[in-house]
Amino acid sequence: MLNKFRRTVFILSTLLFTTLATTIPITSSAQENQTLRIAIKQETGNLDLLQNVSALSTYSLIFEPLIRYGTDGQLQPALATSWITSDDGLTLSFKLRKNVTFSDGSPFDAQTAKWNLERWMGKPEFSWIGISDAMKSIETNGQYDLVINLSKPVPAALYELTIIRPVRFLSPKAVDARGNQTAPIGTGPWVVTENNNSRTLLTRNKNYWGNTPSFANMELKVVPDELARSNGLRSGDLDIIGGDWASPLSPRRARSMQRDPNVAVVAEPGTTSILLTYSPKSPLLQDKSVREAIDLSLERNAIVAIIYEGYATATANLFPKVIPYSGNRNPLPQRDIQAARTKLEQAGWTRSGNSWIKDGKALELELMVSEEALPGSRRLAEMIQGQLSETGIKVRVSSVDNATIHDRRPVFQYDLTFMATYGAPYDPHGTLANLLLSDVDSGPDGKIYMSPELDPVVRAALNAQGAAREEKMQAIYNWLSENMAVSPLVSPKRLWAHNRRVGSFTLPATDYQMLGSDVTLSD
């Protein structure tokens, strides 16, 4: 009996002690508070600048380009302080920034810049970059002058130099004998100290030439699940989530998080568009009136409200306004079921019950979607199915996995599907060249539309310089509208969220990057 009593006392006292120990606030050290924790959807990878395997957004913390893409699409000096393009467009001259060192101490100068550029320029695997395809020679002139000579003008050359990979600069000491990258050593504000499949740790680059970050460390935590990320933010395990490439935040979650006082949701106009595209090989969609009838049946504002929870803008343009050379704004078409039906009747379709028939064939289309390729697209498809059914156009939604959609897109095994433009800094030239030119291999991305008539229009615009560029670009957009080649639906907003530990917060210039310039921690 006594024994039992003793045991009970012991257990109770242990319990009491543990409770006390955990409730007494642990004074946190200043060091610990200076770590900013950001979620990433997948592990960073080896950060090799020439391999297409690592997560894009992490590169931007470590590696810097010559020119930076600014928030409003303006070009800003980075490792180059100024640049001049010759009148014929064949020579690009750069003045490089002085007193810049890589985080391993080696200096950045014209020689290292040339060595870096020659690692990829002119190589067949980088021919998708215009400036690489057209590169003739790279010259250095003294320690801080760099000249790139081109065989033909590349109007988008300066924008191409702002992308993430492969254009950024690596320390010449961070390669092995065969020239393969051995470590991620750049000139940027952050240095990698630990990198594995559950997190990437970075520490401040003390010798950074620009404004050094106000906090000492950064932890990129791998959290693949979207719900888990938002829970992590609310519980305080994470400070920042968001971005299409870092750790996407769904509109649904953003909306429900807005009611949480401990969390701030930041939504800013995005640089991509979501498109409903028509397969150029679909027999039924060869008929322009069918495409027009589909476009007239769409109710874009409802898509914005329901699928995007208001975090998007309905659009009839291929590119959002923030993209350079994105053309005149098209008026948003109003939904008109009657007009859609008239279009079909005029094109020789006859109504039978709630469907349309022509030459014994019913108007039934397959809409191919993949939730993995574009989150929310299954519900979007269901919605469009409902909208088109009011006109009498039958839509079969086939929901496939990511691999299947990437397989069927390039061979046009669908009638309708959703696509997204690439967004800044790749646009407009990236989307136009890859997704509209029939003879450019766009791999699994497929094509928005393809036509022998469209190719010369696009090519003319991509090669146009100066004032002509704007006009030629507009010609593409006009062609697309006149031929009803694609139905742009919405331009989603960029969604990020942070907790109250984060003092000031700005978005990075594009979602391919990780961190805005003015992010601070408040405690």
Binding site: S198, P224, D225, N231, A403, V411
Partner: protein
């Protein structure tokens, strides 16, 4: 006894042969020619008939079915399942990555089901017709009727959304395994607890139980000392069956919690109509089912006193 086990093993091997032959024949008869599928992936839908033919020759698809089956089986036994039509990766590599995930899920789920079902079954037997017994009976009926994807959704709702205790997906942390294991364990646990309960009831009405009571044992004492060993054979047989059925659970659970296991691989192969991966996965499933059953059979042989006595004679 050894001959008995050898006989069982032979029977199991024959079963694997027959079942794999049947799946092989069915998949070979599937509409959609594997060679054409591969050709389409490399050359687009305009792949020429010659290309299709040459791929078919390379793969030996023009040989008679039994020859192809023999080759496939011997390659598979040697560990060469071929490459996935979807990813191009060797299937063995996929299996090596994914088998530990499914294995851990099945083992943890099985362990939970084992412990919980014995506890619940015993509680029911102790209560014997009381309120707890009826409640447990209703619960096990509900447990056996709730789809596991609904269970998963409810758990996520409670532990991830409302309480924020557990991550809503499987990651590297141990906590992320709790919900998947609980989900997969619920169905076998419900069925097994009924088996325990029903068999215990039957056994407790036998004379030796009465003798036990007469000897002054409590109900719990009689249950654990006398009755429990006696239900081992029916329990283990059902456990084996339920353990194999957990493969279905793993398919759903791995999909819901975004786990990279064999079940998810099977679904991906089906969505993509990746016949080579499907064949390989089905063969591994068949082997799993047959071997689990064989294992249970042998254990039952070893512990069942009737059979033991017979074989010693």
């Amino acid at each position: 006894m050894l001959t008995l086990i050898a006989r069982r093993t032979l029977l199991a091997l024959a079963m694997i042969l027959a079942a794999s032959a049947l799946t092989f024949a069915l998949i070979a008869a599937a509409p959609g020619n594997v060679a054409a599928l591969i050709a389409e992936r490399t050359a687009g839908p305009s792949a020429s008939a010659e290309l299709v033919q040459s791929i078919a020759d390379d793969l030996g698809l023009n040989d008679p079915l039994p020859v192809r089956y023999g080759r496939w089986l011997s390659d598979s036994v040697a560990g060469d399942f071929g490459g996935s039509l979807r990813t191009g990766k060797p299937i063995l590599e996929e299996f090596a990555e994914r088998a530990p995930v499914t294995g851990l899920l099945l083992v943890c789920g099985g362990a939970i089901a084992l412990i919980m079902s014995l506890t619940i079954g015993m509680l029911g037997a102790i209560s014997n017709g009381g309120k707890i017994d009826s409640l447990l009976r209703a619960l096990s009926l509900a447990g056996a009727s709730t789809p596991n994807f609904f269970v998963a959704a409810l758990l996520v709702m409670l532990f991830s959304v409302t309480l924020g205790w557990l991550p809503a997906f499987a990651g590297s942390s141990a906590a992320s395994w709790i919900m998947p294991c609980l989900t997969i364990a619920l169905f076998p646990c419900s069925v097994l607890s009924r088996v325990v309960r029903v068999n215990l009831q039957e056994i407790m009405s036998r004379p030796f139980a009465t003798t036990g009571f007469a000897m002054g044992y409590t109900r719990l004492g009689v249950l654990t000392r006398e009755a429990l060993p006696n239900i081992a054979v029916p329990y283990l047989t059902t456990f084996g069956a339920q353990f194999t059925l957990m493969i279905i659970g793993s398919i759903v659970v791995e999909t819901v919690f975004a786990m990279k296991g064999i079940g998810a691989f099977f679904i991906e192969a089906i969505r993509f109509r990746d016949f080579i991966s499907m064949q390989a996965t089905l063969l591994s499933f068949i082997m799993f089912f047959v071997f689990v059953n064989l294992f249970v059979d042998i254990i039952c042989l070893l512990i069942d006193p009737r059979i033991r006595r017979q074989s010693n004679a």
